[in-house]
């Protein structure tokens, strides 16, 4: 078991790191598009806001999943 502890730590770090990388990239693209849309047409603010938040929630879910997996891995120590 002693040799596996380091591997588990690396796996947990990689899990949350890669998950956050992808989710942050996707959320950045979504936010850029939404803000650009609002900047071009400020009256569309209310219509853009709800789907924007919904999209962010779906992207964030991937990061949340990897977070849960990282927590489960750390709990294996």
């Amino acid at each position: 078991m002693e040799s596996q502890a380091g591997l588990i730590a690396i796996a947990a770090g990689l899990a949350i790191g890669l998950g956050a990388f992808g989710a942050a990239g996707g959320q950045g693209r979504a936010a850029a598009a939404a803000f650009e849309g609002i900047a071009r047409n400020p009256s569309s603010k209310d219509d853009v806001f709800t789907p924007f938040l919904l999209g962010l929630a779906f992207m964030e879910f991937q990061a949340i999943l990897s977070f849960i997996i990282a927590i489960m891995l750390v709990g294996k120590f």
Partner: protein
């Protein structure tokens, strides 16, 4: 603006100190391992059920007092000119009503009690999580999965009621008849994953935020946790909004007739 920021900061600092005062014998208030152990169901000081009970009590008292306020103000319906509890409840209730009306349409009054209760319950639970020493019930998978399963049964039953069982099941079948075996399995998996994804999203967000505040309280003691608590306030509102929005969308997809 400056005044508001200052009072927010001092409230956060007060909470941080309160957390430390409560945990006099323990070196770190909610440390990382304690939360991990708590999450794995090993040991905890206050179980999430206590948080849920507390929130239910708060909601009952708030609802009853709001009801008596509405009854007493029927003769003289002038809104209050200062921002109090009544205005806060009216704001949230109006927000949820508009949301449900926009998404579900004409039959929104059937689902407003469910959706509104979900919003209030999740919001108050999330806000309770920002008070040190109180475990939010939404941090536990059991609470969230219970809410997710309630939403799942609601939209399925009302969908069958609104469209008839044959027409409702035809939704699962895809556009053409020879795709039915493939599409049915995919749709079945997608539908049964809906309550799981709803509850996992809420649990991960609230648990993660709670843990973040706990870790930074253990590391820095002052200032930094209060900033993270402000972030947690944002997460509390957004996550309750997302849960309610997704429930309303699932219901509206099931009961809509335009296909």
């Amino acid at each position: 603006m400056k005044k508001v920021l200052f009072s927010l900061l001092s409230i956060g600092l007060g909470f941080t100190f309160a957390g430390h005062a409560q945990a006099a014998g323990i070196p770190h208030f909610i440390n990382y391992f304690e939360i991990t152990a708590h999450q794995l169901g090993m040991e905890s000081a206050l179980s999430p059920a206590v948080g849920a009970l507390f929130v239910t009590l708060i909601l009952a008292i708030l609802g009853l007092s709001f009801r008596s306020y509405v009854n007493s103000s029927l003769a003289n319906p002038v809104p209050s000119d200062r921002f109090g509890l009544v205005v806060f409840i009216e704001l949230i209730a109006g927000f949820v009503t508009d949301l449900t009306k926009d998404l579900i349409g004409t039959s929104y009054k059937t689902f407003l009690p469910l959706v509104g209760t979900l919003f209030f319950f999740i919001l108050f639970n999330n806000l309770l999580g920002l008070v040190p020493g109180f475990p939010p019930a939404t941090e536990s998978m059991s609470t969230n999965l219970a809410m997710g399963v309630i939403v799942f049964f609601t939209y399925n039953i009302f969908g069958i009621k609104a469209q008839g069982i044959k027409s409702y099941l035809a939704h699962f079948g895809g556009p053409v008849w020879w795709l039915f075996p493939v599409m049915f399995v995919i749709e079945l998996i997608s539908h049964s994953f809906r309550p799981v994804s709803l509850s996992l999203r809420l649990m991960g967000n609230i648990f993660g935020d709670h843990m973040l505040v706990g870790v930074f309280t253990g590391l820095t003691y002052v200032v930094v946790p209060s900033l993270l608590m402000f972030f947690g306030l944002l997460v509390a509102f957004v996550q309750s909004f997302i849960f309610t929005l997704l429930s309303a969308i699932y219901i509206s997809m099931a009961v809509s007739h335009d296909h």
